[in-house]
């Protein structure tokens, strides 16, 4: 049976790599070597560092930040600012070190996904990302409450249009279906087990009467982050909020939600906000909510298929941990990532290995590569170059690989995170796979800017010649072994090893030949011959099916 029991002992190289690839945006060799000597429990604990403080993004048009105060005429257009935000966030991911926080922030984006073209104001997206990062290692139930009042979300799902007497169900439905309890099996007309169509209507009533804060000044008292507002008309009451009693179905024990304080038939501002809190509490009181979230976490960090065995042995107990800890995210992740199951050590069956069984997301593939090879990317000291580099070397690549960042095709988010039965297999189509392979070539050739200036490039020679990376580059066996071992998720067969070494690196020439080529290089400094072969090797590894897996 699958087991959540903690795995004892040290991680070792293979399991350390597994943990770091899944829990972060990818390790460098040095990180793997450090984590390999750790115990499992220590290795997992060390992932939980608070996210560092950060500066808001800067606009090349002004050279200054545009968050506070909000953008003016002097700033770049909103559409550009939104692109800049993508770069800014991905830069954070790229340089987040070994920490699970940035990956959890991204998890929140895949869960509470909004589409940037539906969000008119760039600052709203900034504050949403800030919210994801603020709660990265925090409380899931709290962030669920906050997202209901998030300006970007209020725009994305028409929440700002939802008013008493003119309801708009868009957010109410997706809140139940996507963000919290999830849709269950449909039992009959309008009955989705976990909620009914009537609950969608009642939830929409709870969410009525909130709007965008276009000044971006009103803040949430807990996080201090800017949020939406209660529509008060000319007064101080929640004028557009439905103040009637909302009666939920038996799926929610016929709970009634109504304003705790009313004046002249209108809810007070606090009472309207409090209804959101009541609703989230009601939904999180249902056992299914914790399970639904745990399934999503499992698919994100572990494996996309959830068998009945996994449901019983992993999901249900994990959901118990989640509830026992009042929906704090850290205990759940610690338990999952420390478990025998996560490391394939819970049984003697070897057909169910999880190591290597996840198809990397485009983000994991691209950032994982940049981080492993420590490809140098400019800082925001040169703003133009900074945005152009990330745009060309990352954002555009992600799009080619099927991840249009912050712009998925549909409201449910990126297909790979929700579309049964294939989930992450959706990252692989004929086009996407070819583009992933093409990326290897692009990175080795270098990405160039509009003026043909080099933006960034994977310099294989530099990497291989550094003894911190490769112990003895003159030895082609060691060289190939070390690269494949650190870059590929599972051991490869001898035959496969020989393909990489003999066919690719040595071009079917002798080992002696390579040794002399390398000595030649060391003597003369002329790297022409060895560089070509090394680039071929790295490209072949990156263009292998194995490299697509984590």
């Amino acid at each position: 049976m699958a087991s959540l029991n903690p795995l004892a002992g040290t991680l070792g190289k293979k399991l350390a790599t597994h943990l770091l690839r899944r829990a972060t945006f990818g390790p460098a060799k040095n990180d793997i070597d450090i984590w390999a000597g750790n115990t499992v429990s220590q290795g997992v604990k060390d992932l939980f560092k608070a996210l560092p403080a950060y500066d808001p993004p800067k606009d090349p048009a002004t050279g200054a930040d545009w968050i506070n105060p909000k953008p003016t005429e002097a700033n770049s257009p909103q559409e550009d600012l939104k692109e800049h935000l993508n770069v800014w966030w991905i830069d954070k991911m790229c340089h987040s070190g070994i920490s699970i926080g940035e990956k959890m922030a991204f998890f929140y984006h895949t869960h509470f996904t909004t589409i940037k073209s539906r969000i008119r104001f760039a600052p709203a997206i900034y504050y949403q990302i800030a919210l994801f990062r603020y709660y990265a290692l925090g409380n899931f139930k709290e962030i669920t409450k906050k997202i209901c009042m998030d300006n970007a979300m209020l725009m994305h799902l028409d929440g700002q249009l939802n008013e008493v007497g003119r309801p708009n169900e868009n957010f109410g439905r997706e809140f139940l279906e996507l963000y919290s309890i999830g849709k269950g099996v449909q039992k009959g007309p309008s009955d989705y087990t976990n909620y009914t169509e009537e609950d969608v209507v009642e939830a929409a009533r709870v969410f009525s009467g909130f709007g965008i804060d276009e000044d971006f000044t009103g803040t949430d008292p807990e996080s201090g982050l800017v949020r939406g507002r209660v529509k008060t008309g000319n007064g101080t009451l929640a004028a557009r909020h439905d103040a009637g009693a909302k009666i939920f179905s038996k799926a929610f024990q016929n709970t009634v939600i109504e304003p705790k304080e009313m004046i002249d038939g209108k809810a007070t501002e606090a009472a309207a906000l409090d209804e959101i809190s009541q609703l989230v509490d009601m939904v999180f009181d249902q056992e299914e909510t914790a399970r639904h979230i745990c399934r999503k976490l499992y698919r994100f960090f572990v494996y996309y298929k959830i068998s009945e065995e996994i449901e019983q042995d992993i999901i249900i107990p994990l959901a118990g941990t989640f509830r026992d800890n009042n929906f704090e995210i850290q205990p759940v992740l610690e338990q999952l990532l420390s478990s025998q199951h996560f490391y394939d050590q819970d049984n003697s069956v070897n057909t169910d290995d999880i190591v290597g069984a996840v198809i990397k997301s485009p983000l994991e593939l691209v950032l994982g590569t940049l981080r492993f090879f420590k490809v140098e990317i400019t800082t925001d000291a040169d703003l133009e170059k900074y945005y152009e580099t990330y745009y060309r070397a990352v954002i555009r690549e992600l799009k080619f690989h099927g991840m249009d960042f912050y712009e998925p095709f549909e409201v449910a988010g990126y297909t790979a995170y929700h579309q049964a039965p294939s989930y992450n297999r959706n990252w692989i189509s004929a086009n996407y796979l070819a583009e992933r392979y093409k990326y290897a070539e692009n990175l080795l050739n270098g990405f160039y800017g509009e003026n043909d200036n080099l933006l960034c490039k994977l310099n294989v020679m530099e990497y291989v010649a550094d003894p911190k990376n490769i112990s003895d580059p003159s030895n082609p066996e060691k060289l190939t072994r070390e690269l494949t071992e650190y870059l590929l998720p599972q051991e490869i067969t001898e035959e496969r090893f020989n393909y990489f070494m003999n066919t690719i690196l040595l071009d079917d020439l002798s080992i002696m030949n390579w040794k002399s080529e390398w000595q030649q290089y060391q003597l003369t400094g002329d790297d022409t011959n060895v560089r070509v072969q090394l680039e071929r090797l790295v490209k072949a590894i990156m263009q292998s099916p194995e490299y697509q897996l984590s």
């Binding site: 868009n170 290995d353 198809i359 039965p421 796979l433 292998s544 099916p545």
Partner: protein
């Protein structure tokens, strides 16, 4: 699941006779000429599916004219008007009153195709207990299952998998050198998934680029793959890589050999104002590519194209004009692109091989919301295009007086539509239908008469067309110097067009001659007419119709 349980679950329309153009009709009998013909030959027919992503508002696409005041009261802020320059287009005056419907004013292309006998409308398509979730409901349409089924495969995938045993290893083959299915874009939907292994379709955006891309990358794959979770994923990637290598060259070749009809222009933009994202026609390029591939000789059986933006919770229409806005633009895109596609196919001599159909995960709620939009609903009409369709309307207008939980009741199960098309159009055999798990939807009680039947067809279609002539509104109206009268006739006949005063006295004989099939236009100098109202009346054979226009000074 137990396959037999389907039988119990088809309450929709199974007991009532199926209505075509207001008349009860027996579905194509199993022994019919067409059925035999289709089943015997290795036919070259194909299906093009157009997915309307987000849930299309069927009631603003096809207005139930017989219940107009009800319709209006349910959605006063977004209702398509029954008067004015942009009133709905009456689809077919020959239908019984209770079936009368109005096309959205931006769907002129569909109306033209309808008059040519190339459109079948299937009213009220859905399934029992429709799911309000986009994602779940779309999966159901793709799966070909019930509301509570959960298949890992799609109906197209199962059909193609059975039609081409041995996929993927045995393909491409000499008789089937092309992908079995082709999805336009970069990803492949659940619809094409088989029970196991890679899907039966490849996704392509542009065959040239696709070829160049595929050919520039890749190395040798590993020779053996372990029987593990890790191995499963490796195999999946390797299989897709192999298929794309195999198909890329062929698709490029076919594409380069193919061409579109020289005289046909695919629409690029919505001609009126619409929100930025809705202006460009996203369907044109997709259908144009399909026509070109077909002309080049591609043998792919099912194509899937997609147009998004139908989730119109807000701003479905412009607040100042319910006939304008996002949804109007989308309907224009469908109508104009399909019209161009159909004309293109005709020009290429391919019209008899292609059936095109639209579908969406659900319709929208009859009552509009306060944001000039509509929330998720249930059943909606499907449009089927092709030279060989049984032109006309299957089913009747939804009953707005008889809603179920504020939503429309279904008249037909979506699998009746897909199943009938697979059997009568593609010639799917009984075992094909069983493997596709649609066999219960093509019984004599459930099958829909969507495809016209062999020899009888020609006559039936002729009848259909002869019943459908058209006199356009004169323009400008009011007129002051020149008035232009135009009309369309479907039969070579003696035409008289006269202008009468309001007492019925003929003021001017405009046309009095034999005329050929097609559009006619005639300009009349009315500068000498006294200001006031006039009637213009056309007669062609037994067809006669009159309209009013006004002369002003």
């Amino acid at each position: 699941m137990n396959r037999r349980s389907f039988l119990k679950k088809i309450p929709i329309a199974a007991s009532a006779p199926i209505i075509l153009n207001g008349l009860p009709l027996n579905a194509l009998a199993r022994g019919s000429a067409l059925y035999k013909m289709a089943a015997e030959s290795d036919n070259d027919r194909i299906i093009v599916l157009i997915q309307l992503h987000g849930g299309n508002d069927g009631l603003n696409m096809l207005v139930p004219v017989d219940q107009y005041s009800n319709y209006y009261n349910l959605r006063p802020n977004i209702a398509i008007p029954d008067h004015g320059a942009r009133r709905f287009i009456n689809l077919d005056s020959t239908l019984p009153v209770k079936d009368q419907m109005g096309l959205h004013p931006d769907m002129k292309g569909v109306k033209e195709l309808y008059d040519q006998g190339k459109v079948a409308v299937v009213q009220g398509v859905g399934y029992e207990n429709m799911n309000g979730s986009h994602f779940r409901s779309r999966d159901i349409w793709f799966m070909g299952g019930d509301y509570n089924d959960d298949y890992g495969s799609g109906w197209m995938g199962r059909y193609l998998d059975h039609l081409y045993p041995g996929y993927p290893d045995a393909f491409p083959s000499e008789s089937m050198p092309d992908p079995l299915g082709l999805e336009i874009g970069t990803a492949v939907s659940l619809a094409f998934h088989r029970a196991n292994g890679i899907p039966t379709a490849v996704s392509v955006d542009n065959p040239d680029q696709f070829y160049n891309l595929i050919n520039s990358v890749g190395g040798l794959p590993p020779e053996s793959v372990a029987n593990t979770h890790y191995g499963d994923e490796l195999q999946w990637i390797m299989d897709i890589e192999k298929k794309s290598n195999q198909y890329a060259g062929r698709l490029k070749e076919v594409y380069e050999q193919g061409r579109n009809s020289p005289g046909v222009t695919y629409p690029e933009k919505y001609p009126f104002n619409a929100p930025g994202g809705a202006v460009n026609n996203p369907l044109s390029a997709q259908l144009k590519m399909i026509a070109r591939l077909l002309n080049g000789g591609v043998k792919t059986k099912i194509f899937l194209a997609r147009i998004g933006g139908f989730d119109t919770h807000a701003d479905q229409v412009e607040s100042y004009d319910p006939t304008m806005g996002k949804h109007a633009a989308l309907l224009y895109h469908i109508s104009s692109a399909v019209k161009a596609f159909q004309d293109d196919l005709k020009g290429l001599g391919l019209e008899h091989r292609v059936l095109t159909m639209t579908f969406s995960e659900f319709g929208r709620r009859p009552a509009s919301n306060g944001s000039w939009g509509t929330d998720h609903g249930t059943s909606a009409p499907m449009l089927i295009f092709g030279k060989e369709v049984n032109a006309g309307v299957v089913g009747t207008n939804p009953d707005l007086n008889n809603l179920e939980r504020n939503n429309l009741k279904s008249q037909f199960d979506y699998r009746q539509v897909f199943g009938s098309v697979l059997q009568d159009w593609m010639g799917a055999s009984d075992p094909d239908m069983e493997k596709t798990m649609l066999e219960d939807f093509v019984t004599p009680q459930t099958k829909l008469p969507l495809i016209s039947d062999g020899l009888i067809t020609a006559v039936e279609k002729q009848d259909f067309i002869e019943k459908r002539f058209r006199l356009e509104n004169c323009y400008p109206n009011p007129a002051n110097s020149i008035a232009v009268f135009s009309y369309f006739i479907n039969r070579h006949s003696f035409v008289s067009l006269n202008i009468l005063d309001t007492n019925g006295k003929i003021i001017k004989e405009v046309v009095k001659e034999q005329q050929s099939v097609g559009s006619h236009e005639v300009m009349v100098d009315v500068s000498q007419f006294k200001p006031g109202a006039y009637i213009y009346r056309i007669k062609a054979g037994e067809w006669e119709v009159a309209k009013r226009f006004v002369v002003v000074r």
